[in-house]
């Protein structure tokens, strides 16, 4: 190997491959799509190999990179998601109006995330952060909605400009852009720390989709091209976790706000962030329950999960931060897999509306299993990775005695059973509609990434310590206590968890059940329509499929709940109205009115000047 691979090389390589993807797609669509498959895989391998050189700084022209423990971790997640999802691009080329642009922007988004995670200074972070924003902003309108992209940009801009304010505030105060250095300095100055915490925190909250900035998720995820929703939900959103991690743990907030009022074991500022997380969990859960669109449902579930992540990070103890990291990882895998399952379904049936689907398990069994594993993880049920993270987060919440936050978290956790089960029931189980009789299995190339993601979800549910040891190193690298292990056990503060044992025991239980099942007479296979119908004769499968407004009795209870989007709409309406008024009053086509205003203004100025 002549060239030593560094972060700079990877970034440049990705940029080149983005251009290459554009050019090749112009020549041949499929070839271009394959570039988007290969590039993330190569980058994944390269970043993986960089494991040993953590702590090294790299420079690329004027940009400085530093490979930190957490940067590496986030990058790996991101690359994994991108690499897996990219297989789907191959199938979507024909459906796009701008395939070349899509492929290029896809890789640029990846470059943006890697650059942001590895940037040494804030300017680099910001440049790449915005690169994520605009590259995805152009991809989203390739899907079903243009408005979604505008909403996405509006929230993202709010976040990134808040961050920009913080960056310059800190630069003005400390004269440096170096992330580590500035944050450490900020921790000694409560005001600066507060500004950094709020501004960069808002950027993180917006990206994560934490209440009240969650509205872009259902719109963007729900309407983006089916191949890009998994990237958004599994990948890009997690960059928000990175930003929150910077201010909560790297800074660290527990030192910066040590003099503040402490409440439930954390400073009041952190507690407010945690409360936003708690509200997100509740709002995300309730909204997810009532969605009919498969993608919007998962998008809202991402809102709920963002709540867990921000709670974990803001609590800043070893278990909670470890839990948050595990949750970021587990949710990235699970939501990417779930969205890929949706994409596969959408590819074969052309719809993502749950009420139009049903019984697909009989046509797409593997996709069903992928979705099943994904939702088990999302709902935090063992033996999947999502269980480990939730368990760790619950431990911290209980230790701090956060009753209300825990109430929200428990509600979200149980509520997730509801919303993850709905697609399972409405899309995959139940009656198969005759119009889907001829639906085929998902293509092999689509199965590969889905199986990889599901496999990893299960693997890290059984052996989470593989990930948690890395997390523990991240924690010690930023100067906090690391997670404790004992063999396959994770040592918690009020109890331990042995995921491997759980799986063994579950395996035994399953084997016993299987033996019981096999020992008894074989069942007779009957048709799906051959069911108990109270002696009525029904021949239409759709009529025997329970999928419309699935949780109607529950939804009824909160149908009058305030709608956050109305608040924003009201604000924008006011802005628009003021604009209309300005246009009408000051830009009149009657000169006398303008002269009137000029006189008024000059009198006011003369008066103001003489004061």
């Amino acid at each position: 190997m002549g060239i030593s691979i560094g972060v700079g090389t990877i970034i440049v390589g990705l940029l080149i491959s983005a251009v290459l993807a554009y050019v090749l797609t112009k020549i041949n669509k499929t070839t271009g799509a394959w570039v988007t498959v290969l590039a993330p895989f190569l980058a994944l391998a390269a970043v993986f190999l960089l494991r040993d050189s953590i702590g090294t700084t790299y420079s690329l022209f004027f940009l400085e990179f530093e490979l930190t423990e957490y940067g590496w971790f986030f990058s790996m997640i991101m690359l994994l998601v991108f690499a897996c999802v990219s297989f789907f691009n191959v199938y979507w080329m024909k459906k796009m109006v701008h395939p070349a642009a899509y492929n290029m922007l896809y890789l640029l988004a990846l470059t943006g995330t890697l650059g942001a995670f590895m940037a040494k200074d804030f300017i680099g972070l910001f440049i790449f952060w915005e690169m994520i924003v605009w590259s995805s902003m152009f991809i989203i309108p390739f899907g079903k909605s243009r408005k979604a992209s505008v909403v996405y940009y509006a929230f993202s801009a709010l976040g990134s400009l808040a961050m920009l304010y913080g960056i310059f505030y800190l630069y003005n105060a400390f004269g440096s852009f170096n992330i580590q250095e500035v944050l450490k300095l900020a921790a000694t100055d409560t005001t600066a720390a507060l500004v950094a915490f709020i501004t960069i925190g808002i950027a993180g909250m917006v990206k994560l989709g934490v209440f009240p900035f969650h509205l872009w998720l259902p719109r963007a995820h729900g309407n983006a091209p089916d191949t890009f929703s998994p990237i958004l939900s599994g990948g890009l959103v997690k960059a928000g976790g990175f930003a929150v991690f910077l201010i909560a743990v790297v800074m660290p907030s527990y030192e910066a706000f040590a003099t503040q009022l402490q409440f439930m074991g954390v400073s009041i500022t952190s507690y407010i962030f945690i409360l936003f997380g708690a509200v997100s969990i509740v709002v995300g859960t309730l909204m997810a329950i009532k969605q009919d669109d498969f993608k919007k449902l998962i998008a809202y579930s991402s809102v709920a999960n963002a709540g867990y992540i921000i709670i974990g990070l803001a609590m800043t103890d070893a278990l909670s931060v470890g839990g948050a990291f595990m949750h970021i990882f587990a949710h990235a895998l699970a939501s990417a897999a779930a969205f890929l399952a949706v994409a596969a379904v959408s590819h074969r049936t052309g719809t993502t509306k749950m009420s139009e689907l049903g019984g697909l398990i009989h046509r797409m069994p593997l996709t069903y299993l992928v979705y099943l594993i994904a939702i088990i993880s999302m709902a935090g049920i063992p033996p999947m990775a999502g269980f480990i993270s939730k368990w760790m987060l619950f431990q911290s919440m209980i230790d701090n005695g956060m009753v209300f936050v825990a109430t929200a978290a428990f509600f979200g956790s149980i509520g997730s059973f509801l919303y993850v089960f709905r697609p399972l029931s409405a899309v995959f189980l139940g009656q198969l509609s005759p119009k889907h009789y001829k639906v085929k299995k998902a293509p092999v190339l689509m199965m590969i990434p889905m199986i990889i993601l599901s496999g990893l979800t299960v693997l890290f549910g059984i052996f989470p310590n593989i990930v948690l040891r890395i997390v523990s190193r991240i924690q010690t690298s930023v100067g906090m206590e690391g997670l404790q292990f004992d063999g396959t056990k994770i040592i918690g503060s009020n109890g331990s968890l042995d995921p491997t044992l759980i799986v063994v025991i579950f395996g035994i239980g399953f084997m016993i059940a299987l033996v019981i099942f096999l020992l008894h007479p074989k069942s007779r296979k009957v048709e799906l329509m051959d069911t108990y119908t109270a002696s009525e004769f029904i021949y239409t499968p759709e009529l025997l499929h329970y999928s419309h407004s699935f949780y109607a009795p529950f939804e009824r209870l909160y149908k009058n709940a305030p709608d956050t989007s109305k608040w924003y709409k009201a604000i924008l309406k006011k802005v628009s109205e003021i604009g209309g008024f300005v246009s009408y009053a000051f830009f009149s086509s009657k000169p006398r009115i303008v002269v009137f205003w000029i006189v008024i203004a000059m009198v006011a100025l003369l008066w103001g000047g003489s004061v």
Partner: protein
Amino acid sequence: MNPALLIAAPLLAAFIAVIFKKIDKVVLGVVAVGNIAYSIVMAVLFTGATQIAIGGFAPPFGISLVLDSYSLIGILLVNVAFGLILLMGTKLVGRYGIVLAVSLAALNGIVLTGDLFNLFVFIEVAAISAYIMTTMNKQLKHTFNYLILGTLASGLLLFGIAVLYNMFGSLNIIDIASKLAISGVSAGAMVLPIVFIFAGLSVEAKLIPFGGWVRGVLKKSNSLVGPLLVTGYAAAILLVFGRLTSTIFIMSDGLKIALTVVAVATLVLAEFTAFSKKNLREVLLFSSIAQSGLVVALFLNGLTVAAILVLVNNVVSKLVLFALSAKIADDTGTDKISELKGVFTKYRVLGVGFTIAAMSLIGLPMFFGFVAKAQAVMSLFESGNLWLPAVILLVSVIEGIYIIRILTTLWNSGKEGQVPSKDAQKEYKLNGFVKVSIVALVIGVLIVAAGILPITNIKEFLSSDFLSFITRSMGGV
């Protein structure tokens, strides 16, 4: 090198064109190119700030032109913008060659002059040529409206200048500035002239509530007049603001706050208005007004470098955006955003140029706009102002929303709620878009280059030393 040539040459061209009507376009073109070349040469050979006397009288008695790096930036900006606009809208010149030449002379004069009365004259000339040019839009009522307000503005300006002359017995800006320093005139006494000059200039600079004429004139303007008024004229007038605020505007705190309020209110309200608009040109014109407000606010706070950067960004990106919008409007018959779905799908190069300019306007990093915004925010922080950066950043969210709304709509055909498809594509036909596209693309490349270069050494860029040659050269000769 005598900068007077920049004013004289176009005037001469105008005369030639009067005599030889048939070659007016050629003459205009030659002069435009010549002016660009000459200003570039001057920039290259620039050694230090000088005051050039005109007509043999030494300043402060005679009329003088000031050539410093500040006016150098001004003439570069004005001439290059003028040249590019002319290049993109050659076909529209028609009978207006003479007027355009005169306006070029006047704009150069505004930027260069060091004499207040001379400034007034150039502004008058520029305004009159603008009135004539706006008749191209065939919206005579609005032109008339512009004429009335422009005349009022001239009156206000003249009154302010007269008061100053009465106070100091001089019209030379530098002379007045030095006398101000010596005599120690109280800030209170300066309120009257400052407010009148400010008001007079604000009409041309389109600040709210002074620039009431602008909507009627610009919302239907073609790809020649519109960009010219939005870029060249705006740049020249705003640069005058900058020169006056840094020299003779000795403001009491109350006045400074009052003027800043007008500027910031313009920024906020105009962005709100742009947000509420549905037509391309209307959105862009209100966006320009907002940027003018920002530039004036920065000048008032003494942040010349930041103000110039914001101004340059606005001029460059608006040049592209407005010219392309007007071009699209001219050829398709509408500039309603919702009726132009997917227009860039066919005209991709055009779209790329438009997109880069738009992204620079909203200040995304790697585009020039980010550099300008960073400088503005940072220098405000340095001057201890914490609220104005917040306002600037908040309104740029609003700005971003309407710009992105335009971009996503213009790039993607298809109904809301449906995946864009080639079948749903409306057919658009633009005439002679190649030249426009190339210009837009070249400017786009420059925007990106100018956006990346300063980031390579962002710290030095942000520290005032790096660009202090502009600030230093502002104060005196």
